[in-house]
């Protein structure tokens, strides 16, 4: 990351951290949702943007984290432990699933992940003793931390997810992941351990939504199978990353920011139409800016042979 990027990042973080001092509760809760989408978009970017394994079911890990968080809070665990365990449980679930599904390439992986989300929702519906089934879990306000705790935790998760992607992006691990994306067979031939790399990326990208899900349930206080494993959440992650720029560090941040802001302005005016308008915007970006909004910035960067210098280091 260049000095200028670091400066921008530091300014953004400082602004976000200072916001609760001046903004109303409503604006804080809007920003909280924005941070949530940044973290989720980065998680999706980590597996799908970097390795090219497109996941249509990342909401499954979000839902698992949300249920884990809700149940742990009910059992009397402190909120921070519920968040940490939400991440760990989602990661633990993702490892065997990754081992199985990452053997599939192209559309098969995408469909397997889509199925995973559906299966998770059905399990949550039928496992009544644990999840209370379709009745859902309602958390008492006494168990929940205040808005500022949720705000800073979500901010921290967004920063952590972005930093993780930035760190992976510039290192050898990131290069290997991108090699897999470009040509998996060739990457294997030159000695990249594709299985280990894919699995590590997958588990990391599952831990983030796990933690985010736990914070989300602390914020909304109610959870049922259809809100935990929402198909629309899968789509949102993908849309935001594609909007900003797939496989880049700043793309998901930019995409989440733009999409959330536009939605906020549109939905009050056009309740039924706002998603259609967003869809039209996405079409325009995909058609005219295939690399997302980031490609406008990246055009300049391509002049500098950064990758080569890093390789020779």
């Amino acid at each position: 990351m260049s000095v200028r990027q670091l400066a921008v990042a530091a300014a953004l973080v400082a602004a976000a951290a200072a916001l609760p001092l001046v903004a109303s509760e409503y604006h804080q809760s809007f920003m909280l949702q924005l941070f949530m989408m940044v973290a989720l978009a980065q998680a999706w970017n980590l597996i799908s943007g970097m390795t090219g394994y497109v996941s249509f079911g990342h909401a499954a890990f979000f839902g698992i984290g949300a249920y884990a968080g809700a149940l742990l809070l009910q059992y009397g665990f402190p909120w921070w432990l519920a968040v940490v365990k939400g991440a760990l449980i989602a990661a633990a679930v993702s490892a065997p699933i990754g081992l199985l599904t990452l053997r599939l390439r192209g559309p098969y992986f995408a469909i397997a992940m889509l199925g995973l989300n559906e299966v998770a929702r059905i399990v949550a519906t039928l496992w009544v003793d644990l999840t209370r089934g379709g009745s859902g879990i309602s958390l008492s306000p006494a168990l929940l931390p205040g808005l500022s705790v949720n705000y800073y935790t979500m901010l921290l998760l967004a920063i952590a997810a972005t930093a993780l992607v930035a760190w992976i992006h510039r290192g050898r691990f990131g290069l290997e992941l991108r090699a897999i994306r470009e040509d998996e067979g060739a990457a294997e031939m030159v000695g990249v351990n594709t299985v280990r790399n894919k699995l590590s990326a997958f588990v990391l990208s599952a831990a983030i939504p796990g933690a985010v899900g736990a914070v989300f349930v602390m914020y909304t206080s109610y959870l049922n199978p259809s809100s935990a494993f929402a198909a629309s959440l899968n789509i949102q992650m993908i849309v935001m990353v594609m909007f900003g720029g797939t496989g880049t560090v700043w793309g998901p941040v930019l995409g989440a920011g733009i999409v959330m802001l536009v939605r906020e302005f549109l939905w009050a005016q056009f309740p039924a139409l706002h998603l259609a308008l967003l869809g039209a915007m996405l079409l325009v970006v995909v058609l005219f800016l295939p690399g997302g909004v980031m490609s406008v910035f990246a055009r300049r960067k391509r002049m500098r042979p950064e990758v080569i210098t890093r390789e020779s280091r």
Binding site: S24, Q33, S135, S140, T220, A230, P271
Partner: protein, 390 residues
């Protein structure tokens, strides 16, 4: 350019000042209902009923002499969206009064937000008793509870000497509430649930279930259902010649579509309703006529509930003499009033205990209230006619 900016600044200040002055004279009421998603139709009716109250109260001179303004959003039938919207209504729109959303699951989420802000909320669209079992102090219901839906029908069956009940229900919040009520009531009446099965949401094939039910020879078939599943069940019961003395289902038979879709097969099927325009309640007929003139169809209980929720708020604010949260909450707890939707009286948890439920039955192609006898528009038809002799 510079002048233009100055002008805009000035206009902004003027607007803000005017807006501030207007706000001081208004009572702002906030709500979210589903305008999209699976509760779209019922949510819209509830909103229309509520909007009619807003128009009328303003024509009467408003609340405490202040004009009532409604702020409403679409919760997309999703609990998580509902939670966000109530957060927005309370902290951003800074509403004075709150009306709950439609459906038990969205209400579960929205009422937690209201509780967090200690903001009283009048709920007209939820009946699952779990909502009132969480120790909250700010959620006041209008609907009779799901658990009591089948009580009158079971009591009627008992009076005819019936003993064996077959119970089927969908696996979501409201139908599960209906079922647990049936089981408790059957036990207290000394009746026996000889068959019980829970089915997945959106199931429409009940053939295997019906075959198993036939083997148990029940006197009554009771379903915790919505419209599509109750319709499909009756159709398949006929195909498989399932017989019993009473067929009763939640939600479905209370809607006109039930009779429209089933025709002769709907004859004799019983169901439940929270409210009907034909009930002998002061104001019910007047509301129904005005609603029909405006929207072109008779209001169902969802519209009636929206209108009633407005009247409850009005009575509470009048009693409190202010829109102050603590005073309104106390007034809602103390209130015992009759709206066009029926009596409103809650217990210490905020749950409705004053309004009875009603039983409907399809007779001669029309939906009639048959129980309790005091509200009946037709005499109950018993027993359920043989499928072949219709």
């Amino acid at each position: 350019m510079k002048r233009l900016w100055l002008l805009m600044w000035f206009a902004g200040f003027v607007l803000a000042a005017v807006g501030g002055a207007a706000a001081a004279q208004e009572v702002v009421v906030g709500t979210s209902v589903a305008l999209t998603g699976k509760y779209d139709r019922t949510g819209r009716e509830q909103l229309q009923g509520f909007q009619m109250w807003v128009e009328e109260v303003n024509a009467r001179g408003g609340l405490l002499g202040r004009k009532v303004r409604l702020v409403h959003y679409d919760d997309e039938s999703k609990p998580e969206t509902g939670a966000k919207l109530y957060e927005k209504l309370i902290t951003d729109d800074k509403v004075d009064l709150l009306i709950g959303p439609y459906s038990s699951d969205v209400t579960m989420a929205a009422s937690t937000v209201a509780e967090k802000h200690n903001f009283p909320m009048v709920s007209s669209g939820a009946s699952a008793s779990e909502i009132w079992e969480r120790g909250f102090k700010n959620i006041f219901g209008l609907y009779t509870l799901a658990e009591t839906y089948m009580d009158q029908i079971l009591e009627f069956g008992k009076s005819k000497g019936l003993k064996k009940i077959a119970l089927v229900y969908e696996n979501t919040a409201f139908p599960r509430g209906v079922a647990s009520g049936v089981k408790a009531k059957a036990k207290s009446l000394g009746m026996q649930v000889v068959y019980e099965e829970e089915y997945g949401k959106a199931s429409t094939d009940f053939t295997s279930m019906i075959v198993k039910i036939k083997a148990r020879k029940p006197d009554m078939i009771v379903g915790g259902s919505y419209l599509p599943d109750s319709t499909a069940f009756v159709r398949q019961a006929k195909e498989n010649r399932l017989t019993a003395k009473i067929f009763a289902f939640a939600v479905g038979p209370g809607l006109p579509d039930f009779g429209k879709n089933l025709g002769l097969d709907a004859e004799g099927v019983m169901g439940n309703t929270q409210w009907e325009p034909t009930l002998n309640i002061p104001g019910a007929r007047e509301f129904a006529d005005k609603y029909k003139a405006k929207h072109g169809h008779e209001p169902g209980y969802h519209a009636g509930g929206g209108y009633g929720a407005g009247q409850v708020l009005e009575a509470a604010v009048k009693k409190a003499g202010a829109t102050d949260r603590d005073k309104v909450r106390q007034a809602l707890f103390d209130l015992d009033t009759v709206t066009a939707f029926g009596r409103f009286k809650v217990d210490a948890t905020g749950k409705q205990v004053g309004k009875p439920g009603y039983t409907v039955q399809w007779i001669d192609g029309e939906r009639h209230v048959v129980l309790p006898a005091s509200a009946a528009t037709r005499k109950i038809v018993y027993p359920f006619k043989d499928w072949a002799k219709r």
